[in-house]
């Protein structure tokens, strides 16, 4: 059978080759007269050498594969894991696995999603995991694809988010085609990203692939989460399975590392005895249960919660949400617990970016600082994303969310009813209400301005989705945190924080992945407010959204500048006594202005804009939301104030 199939293929190729030879010969002999030719000449009969070659038996290594391939087994392994999607930009180093996914695996669980850049492939995994609570796999080309993907991998690393990165490679030199395949092969492909992945391996056999892939999933999904990588050897993948398939290890049910109960009890006592305790959170909550625990802790203590916004940790309108009064609360606190705060030093010190840099502690002398975090369980030396060392009085190593129930139990055991605590909670609720009113008042300034104020942009968006099951898929720092200040966030999936690594380009790609997870959850209206600079770093995410029918409302906060960099250059010019007016050189995106609506339309995304009139924004957004609810992505380009 194998011989017959292979001979058929050779026959077809032989005919094509003969035709090609004839055409080439024609071209060589009829220069300048080709247009007058009406039919090609008959093919030349095979030579004696060709006849002899056709009669030879095929060498085993030239036979077409008809049985199960190793890449089929690799798909079996992936199907054994809760991995619903595999994102990829195609590359020859993993062509065998690619074909097995779509044909042998019937392109289901995992389903292959087409991306036009590896940064999109991995970045989608970043946003997806934060909503779905599980990783997808991103399949990237050897060497070049890894380098394209590296920015998104670093963001996921810094944000402690699981993504399974699978890298094509060809290890054995005799298996590499001359030329390009050498430049896309490496003796250690994962070395390119090892500084910002949690673990990697390069399996050289099927049992090895099975164990390491299951291990990669487990390590990525054990807090602190992080990307892991598996290098897929192309030669191994393309080989037939000769023996009985290897066993696929069973995936264990995972539990997160929890803080020392004695230390959590001590923390609870410090907090309960405090006059002005403060809870500060950043990337603490992943689930509704975690949020419920955090709310209960705050209510038992009567303590304010400062939400740094790495995740949606605490309801934005809860009476104990003290985020908008963070400075005053920290200055008055006698005990502060920071739970999964990525930059604790920056959170409790006023650091000024001036010529003689200085930092002033925000907390008063004698106050106590407690940290509860899994950060120390995963730290590497080279890249400095671990932030400056902040001395604390009690450092509890453990996953924040997993440790909350123990902290809550300890508080419930040690905290009785207290009039003072109830009075404190009432005062905090009054202050939170006043802070909210101040934000509403602040939003009125510039309400009718052109370019459109960012506060108005955010509130026009909210007005269109507030009655739906909405979710914001982007960070808010560049929008002056207007959503957190004015929208009513109540569920963890309604806000998933920002990039973690501050790698520009995160918003469109991560939002595409988050929107995918929201689509699967059903009935949600995901919203992304994306900076113009962010979108231009990875605009091809638009095509992936359109191609795979992933609904997402994208609102471009188009201030036509890398505004933060404008400010940096202005500051340097002023420091050097030189003109600040030239700070726009190299930092703005004008002349020509980018037409984001046309950009989106070119990739099949419904779009409208640029919107410059504030009164036109609401109707434009209404149309866009209707498109999203019909199952498609939509983009609204809004010419906006800087922040």
């Amino acid at each position: 059978m194998a011989d017959r199939l292979d001979m058929k293929r050779r026959g077809l190729f032989g005919a094509v080759a003969a035709g090609a030879t004839a055409i080439a010969a024609t071209g060589a002999t009829t220069k300048g007269a080709r247009a007058a030719e009406s039919a090609p000449p008959p093919a030349a009969p095979p030579s004696a050498a060709v006849k002899a070659a056709e009669a030879q038996p095929l060498a085993p290594r030239e036979m077409a594969l008809v049985g199960k391939s190793c890449s089929d087994f690799m798909v079996d392994v992936m199907k054994s894991l809760p991995v619903d999607y595999i994102t990829t930009m195609p590359g020859s180093t993993f062509r065998g696995l690619h074909e097995s996914i779509i044909n042998y695996g019937n392109n289901k669980s995992p389903e292959l999603l087409t991306c036009l850049h590896e940064e999109v492939a991995v970045g989608m995994g970043h946003g997806y995991a934060k909503v779905a609570g599980k990783p997808l796999a991103a399949l990237v080309h050897g060497v070049v694809g890894v380098q394209h993907a590296s920015m998104a991998i670093y963001n996921a690393w810094a944000d402690r988010v699981p993504v399974i990165v699978m890298i094509g490679n060809t290890l054995a030199l005799e298996e590499r085609r001359p030329g390009v395949e050498w430049t896309h092969s490496a003796q250690d492909n994962a070395a390119l990203i090892r500084d910002f992945t949690k673990w990697d391996d390069m399996p050289v056999s099927l049992p090895h692939f099975a164990e390491s892939t299951v291990r990669a999933w487990r390590i990525a999904m054990t807090p602190p989460y992080a990307p892991t990588a598996i290098v897929v050897d192309g030669a191994l993948a393309e080989n037939p399975v000769h023996d009985e398939p290897a066993a696929i290890p069973r995936l264990a049910r995972l539990s997160a590392p929890v803080g020392d109960p004695a230390a959590l009890t001590e923390a609870a006592k410090l907090l309960a005895d405090a006059q002005s305790p403060v809870i500060m959170v950043d990337c603490a909550v992943r689930t509704a249960a975690g949020m419920a625990d955090l709310v209960a802790i705050a209510e038992v203590l009567g303590a304010p919660v400062i939400d740094k916004g790495g995740r949606m940790n605490f309801p934005s309108r809860h009476p104990l949400n003290g985020t908008q009064r963070a400075g005053a609360l920290l200055r008055g606190a006698d005990v502060v617990i920071g739970i999964e705060v990525a930059d604790l030093y920056g959170a409790v010190n006023n650091y000024r970016d001036v010529i003689h840099r200085d930092a002033t502690p925000m907390m008063k002398p004698g106050s106590k600082l407690i940290s509860l975090s899994a950060a120390d369980l995963l730290i590497k030396a080279n890249l400095q994303d671990f932030q400056r060392y902040q001395p604390v009085d009690l450092a509890i190593s453990g996953d924040g969310e997993a440790s909350l129930p123990l902290l809550l139990d300890a508080l419930r055991r040690g905290v009785g009813r207290s009039d003072a605590r109830e009075a404190r909670a009432k005062a905090l609720a009054d202050a939170a209400r006043q802070a909210h009113d101040r934000s509403r008042q602040a939003a009125t300034y510039g309400w009718d301005a052109t370019p459109i104020s960012v506060a108005r942009l955010c509130m026009e968006v909210y007005a269109q989705v507030r009655d739906d099951d909405w979710a914001l898929t982007t960070g808010q720092g560049f929008q002056s945190n207007w959503p957190s200040r004015l929208w009513d966030f109540t569920k963890p999936y309604q806000h998933i924080g920002d990039s973690g690594g501050y790698g520009v380009g995160y918003s469109p790609v991560s939002s595409a992945g988050a929107a995918l997870a929201h689509r699967d959850a059903g009935g949600r209206v995901p919203v992304a407010i994306i900076g113009d600079g962010e979108l231009m770093c990875a605009p091809t995410a638009l095509w992936t959204l359109a191609h795979h029918r992933i609904p997402l409302l994208m609102v471009v906060h188009n201030n036509r500048a890398y505004h933060q960099e404008v400010m940096h250059v202005e500051r340097m010019a002023a420091r050097h006594g030189r003109p600040t007016a030239r700070a726009t050189i190299g930092t703005v995106m004008t002349d020509p202005n980018i037409d984001f609506a046309k950009l989106a339309a070119s990739m099949g995304v419904w779009s409208i804009g640029p919107i410059e009139d504030p009164a036109a924004l609401g109707p434009a957004l209404k149309q866009a939301v209707a498109m999203v609810k019909s199952g498609h992505p939509a983009l609204v380009d809004v010419v906006s104030q800087a922040r």
């Binding site: 000024r352 300034y445 301005a449 960012v454 400010m567 420091r575 700070a583 104030q641």
Partner: protein, 115 residues
């Protein structure tokens, strides 16, 4: 220490910005002020109508040109300082005039999206 900075700044202003303190100083021109406000990058942080952003809200009802000069020559935060070579007293007067020309925003109660 915390309370001494404004007095120092006032002293500096009195020395460095006499034109701003003179009663006969030429009135500012809002159009020129707006141009300077945008071209010098003020609007990047404070908003094109002074509504605030990373920087403080400046309008409507701005502080006096002299008070602006006091801070702008010797800022205490992360805002860059502007010398008189970069930003003249006359331009500060223009900017103040522009900020003073900004109309008050709609009343909070009149904006349905904020209620």
């Amino acid at each position: 220490m915390k309370h001494r900075t404004p007095w120092l700044a006032l002293l500096v202003a009195a020395i460095c910005a006499p034109a701003l303190a003179r009663a006969d100083a030429a009135p500012g021109e809002p159009g020129r002020g707006f141009t300077a406000f945008v071209e010098l990058g003020c609007s990047g942080c404070h908003g094109t109508v002074g509504q605030g952003g990373p920087g403080l809200r400046l309008a409507p009802q701005p502080i006096s040109a002299q008070a602006i000069a006091i801070y702008i020559r010797n800022p205490t935060g992360v805002m860059p300082p502007f010398t008189s070579a970069e930003l003249s007293d006359a331009t500060i007067i223009d900017i103040q005039a522009y900020l003073a020309s900004v109309k008050p925003p709609p009343k909070l109660a009149d904006i349905p999206l904020l209620n």
